[in-house]
């Protein structure tokens, strides 16, 4: 029903697990961590900024740092604050704007990306926690000009209207079919239950995913 189960969503609990095994959520991290804890958590990963000096914000107690993010197989240096989300780092700093910010609270799935092969809400993931991870966005889904079969199916079935939710639905669909190339209609619905579309394209999205699954099984 209208309540969507967390189990069915992109993995919201484990996505911010840091390499050291410490679990952080965006909210918990900000609430629980004092300035020193922030420094301790991120210091090993801070790259020397190009200017080589602390930014003005750091002098005021707002710390920013240049980190490196691996997005769609390319390495990018980006200046972020400890609180900067992966979504904002991608969108505002790197102009990788496929992931959309709609709710900014992990409620809608529009910002969904893959991190080390697992789906995460990029609005609920700190940019600093994404260092050293392989991040895949919708921009990396096609092979050059050749669309991924799921993208092709979305086009063919008109599984998009305004298109703002589409990148998130595509990432969830890909994750779903990567794990199960022959889903039942119910499994498709469950697999997409972390994504919200307001235009109401769901029926065409379901058709597209089923059609893409068939195509992919045939070697696509």
């Amino acid at each position: 029903m209208a309540d969507r189960h967390d189990e069915a969503r992109p993995d919201a609990s484990s996505h911010s697990e840091s390499k050291s095994g410490t679990r952080f959520t965006r909210r918990g991290f900000l609430k629980g961590a004092g300035a020193s804890a922030v420094t301790a958590a991120v210091a090993p990963a801070i790259l020397v900024s190009e200017a080589g000096t602390a930014s003005a914000q750091e002098a005021e107690g707002v710390m920013s740092a240049t980190i490196s993010l691996d997005v769609n197989g390319q390495s990018h240096n980006v200046e972020v604050e400890a609180r900067t989300t992966l979504a904002d780092a991608l969108r505002d700093r790197l102009e990788i704007t496929g992931p959309k910010v709609v709710c900014d609270k992990g409620e809608c799935g529009a910002c969904t990306v893959e991190m080390d092969g697992k789906l995460v809400f990029s609005c609920m993931t700190l940019a600093m926690d994404a260092q050293g991870r392989k991040i895949e966005t919708v921009e990396g889904m096609a092979d050059g000009d050749n669309l991924h079969p799921i993208q092709e199916a979305f086009v063919e079935k008109d599984a998009l209207m305004c298109g703002f939710c589409t990148p998130g639905f595509l990432m969830s669909s890909k994750s779903l079919l990567d794990a199960n190339d022959n889903p039942t209609p119910e499994e498709v619905r469950e697999g997409l239950s972390g994504n919200i579309c307001r235009c109401g394209t769901y029926p065409h999205v379901f058709e597209a995913v089923m059609s893409a699954a068939e195509k992919m099984r045939k070697g696509g």
Binding site: Q57, V138, E139, L160, C162
Partner: protein
């Protein structure tokens, strides 16, 4: 085989005055779109021309625009539902590194007020180098409020002793009355009279792309990227506000993440963005947050309807009385249609009022007023049918003056198996899960106009079409390609189309289900007449009249003798070096207004938990001549689902104690998700002779009423209060048991 011509009357603007003139255009038959079976594009399903941009992440929405030196804007909003600002001080905010500018009430009293009338009202704004710093700056603006009494509940606000939302008028507006005949005499004729009260909640729009703009000034020229349903309405409002000519303002909307009625005009956040950019001397992006969307960008007003309906024993409706009110928040109207919805009733009286509350102002939302009216009327029709021992369909057919809708009801009933699969006795199933079937209907206007376009045919054969409409997700860009390609006998990708820009010819806002009916006739007329200009140059070479030529499949030839032919490029090469340029406008004869819509639904009700699930919807719709059946079906699906969301889940909840909206997010504000989607079957009722008619709105109207009727049919519980949540179903079931 000379093309027949016909005379049409169009209105042109001359020195600012409208003037009617007659022009000659090719006569393309009834409905205007010719023999549909011969078409390549029109009336055939086609994927969106911008679909690849949308699936690859290449599509750049307003929220995605990045400019050199871009600043991020945020708006500070009233923390109280009713307060007066004694002092506001941005000293601390301005001292934060990265904060560029702050604008306060005194900077623009038209936008900001020191009188706060809802929690979320705009009181100041900032622009900073990063979104994070902009957020910090909001917290560093010190506001000294004098907190005042407030009211957020429409029933409480009707009390004469309630806190007054506005100082210059009462909370309850002037009643609007609609009447016909003599209701006393009508009710005296009635054999059965029923009375009931229906309640509809406030619904948020929730376009996924929030309201927002990117504004950039160069001197007194302003460029705006806007998430809007009407680029020209944004231009007009900003030019007016800043006292500059409209020619100095350019508004661009290339991709747009949904509107549903709340994105017309620059609105406050648009003006604030431009203010910040002007003061900062730098471009500013100001996208609202999800919370701000719920609080301040509009909503569908509530409706409380006391309805009295009288019928004779044979089912003829004879009298109707309705008194209704609702809250538009601090401003606007909560009125719903002012005559009995759908059915012909000789005697009626309707009195309705809007009740101001200290909550965010309403905005038009997908079929304003109609789903509310349809819910109450269609529920009453079922109650009356039961009281009279009639089939709910029979009483509808007897009282519905619209022949197309009667046919559509019959079509849907046949398809879903109304006579064969539906139990005529409510609550007849056994076991915990009970199933039922219900029907509801809609009427909508739509219609077209207010659109200009221009077309250039270049000597090399390339064709450009420009129209200042915008594609809000409905497929407008695709239909411009389709209409132009059909007219020139070219491929859709051969047409260079420009929309979403005030530098292009005027087109009205995308709303009211009018866009397809406005844009397609304008493109048809413009390309058709541009083509005729080309034919005038070619015809002498074949020794025929221009109207005897046909453009099809990349060739231009004589209709009666296709051997007399040249390629499109050979034809346009005859132009020498001067392109054909034609500025055209919407023409009558290619579109219509006024459509019915009918939804049948099947539900299952868990009688132990009260949980209702919509299992299946049969949606019967009529768009005259459907331009693109693929994108049309998407819109029907979307309308059906938005109606289910409104009927079943969505609800803006205001806390009467604090005056805040307590569910201003996408988790506690319940939206339907993928596991709630029923099977939807769409039936087309085509009337191609009427031309193009819009679909966005009729597709959402009937759903809640049909669900309410299906719930009753399933379990005998009549729910008159939306949304149909388990608590209400259980209460109604308990009442049924108690008898």
């Amino acid at each position: 085989m000379q093309q027949k011509m016909k005379t049409v009357t169009i209105t042109i603007q001359e020195d600012g005055e409208p003037r009617e003139i007659e022009i000659q255009v090719p006569d393309t038959g009834e409905g205007g779109w010719g023999d549909l079976s011969k078409n390549t594009y029109i009336n055939k399903p086609h994927t969106r021309v911008d679909a690849v941009d949308k699936v690859t992440g290449r599509a750049k929405y307003t929220a995605d625009i990045k400019l050199p030196g871009l600043l991020y804007g945020r708006i500070l909003r009233s923390a109280h539902p009713r307060a007066r600002i004694n002092r506001i001080d941005a000293t601390r905010a301005m001292a934060l590194p990265g904060v560029s500018v702050v604008v306060l009430p005194n900077d623009d009293p038209e936008v900001f007020s020191r009188e706060c009338r809802f929690a979320g009202q705009e009181i100041a704004a900032v622009a900073a180098t990063t979104p994070e710093v902009a957020e910090d700056a909001l917290h560093a603006i010190d506001v000294d409020y004098e907190v005042l009494p407030f009211v957020v509940d429409e029933d409480a606000a009707r009390d004469p002793d309630a806190a007054q939302v506005h100082s210059d008028r009462g909370n309850v507006g002037e009643p609007r009355v609609g009447e016909q005949g003599d209701i006393a005499a009508g009710f005296a004729q009635a054999d059965v009279t029923l009375e009931a009260t229906f309640r509809c909640q406030v619904q948020s729009h929730i376009a996924l792309e929030t309201h927002g703009n990117v504004c950039q000034w160069e001197g007194d020229k302003l460029t705006v990227w806007a998430s809007t349903q009407g680029v020209f309405s944004v231009r007009g409002e900003l030019a007016g506000h800043f006292g500059i000519p409209e020619t100095n303002v350019r508004v661009i909307t290339e991709f747009m993440g949904g509107g549903f009625g709340a994105k017309f005009g620059a609105r406050k956040e648009g003006v604030i963005c431009a203010l910040l950019a002007r003061k900062a001397g730098a471009p500013v992006k100001l996208m609202l947050t999800r919370k701000e969307e719920h609080l301040a960008t509009g909503n569908r007003p509530s409706a409380v309807q006391h309805v009295k309906l009288g019928a004779t024993s044979d089912g003829k409706l004879v009298a109707y009385e309705r008194s209704n009110y609702g809250t538009p928040g601090v401003a606007g109207s909560a009125n719903i249609p002012g005559a009995p919805y759908l059915y012909e009733i000789p005697n009626y009286r309707i009195e309705q009022t809007s009740v101001f509350t200290n909550a965010g102002p309403m905005a038009a939302q997908r079929a304003p007023g109609h789903p509310q009216a349809a819910f109450a009327m269609e529920s009453m029709m079922d109650e009356m049918a039961e009281a009279l021992g009639m089939d709910p369909i029979d009483i509808r057919q007897m009282n519905d003056p619209n022949e197309a809708r009667r046919n559509m009801v019959a079509m849907g009933a046949e398809h879903i198996g109304w006579k064969t699969r539906r139990s005529a006795t409510p609550n007849s199933g056994t076991g915990r899960i009970k199933t039922g079937m219900g029907v509801g209907s809609a009427r909508w206007g739509g219609g077209g106009g207010r659109t200009q376009a221009e077309c250039t045919i270049n000597p090399d054969g390339s064709v450009q079409v420009k129209c200042g409409t915008q594609d809000i997700g409905t497929g407008t860009l695709t239909l411009v390609h389709m209409v132009a390609a059909e007219e020139f006998g070219l491929k859709m990708e051969d047409i260079d189309v420009g929309i979403g820009d005030t530098n292009y010819p005027y087109s009205g806002g995308s709303g009211g289900s009018t866009t397809a009916a406005s844009v397609s006739p304008a493109i048809k007329g413009t390309t058709m007449l541009a083509k005729l200009e080309l034919f005038k140059k070619i015809a002498p070479r074949f020794g025929v009249e221009p109207g005897e030529l046909v453009a099809s499949d990349g060739n231009v030839f004589v209709g009666s003798d296709p051997s007399k032919s040249m390629t499109w490029q050979q034809a346009t090469a005859q132009l020498g070096d001067e392109p054909i340029f034609f500025h055209g406008q919407w023409l009558p004869g290619y579109s219509d207004s006024g459509v019915p819509g009918v939804h049948f639904v099947e539900v299952s009700v868990d009688t132990e938990t009260g949980l209702v699930k919509v299992d299946r919807v049969v949606a019967v719709h009529n768009s005259g001549m459907i331009l693109n059946p693929l994108t049309w079906a998407s819109q029907v699906n979307g309308g059906v689902l938005m109606g289910i969301g409104y009927g079943m889940y969505e609800n803006r909840i205001m806390d009467p104690a604090t005056g805040y909206m307590v569910n201003a997010n996408l988790e506690d504000y319940k939206l339907m998700g993928s596991t709630d989607i029923p099977e939807i079957e769409i039936l087309r009722y085509d009337e191609p002779e009427r031309g193009v008619i819009g679909i966005g709105e009729p597709a959402t109207i009937p759903t809640p009423g049909a669900i309410a009727n299906a719930i009753y049919n399933a379990c005998g519980a009549r729910i008159r209060d939306m949304p149909f949540t388990p608590d209400k179903v259980l209460s109604a079931l308990a009442a049924v048991k108690e008898g």
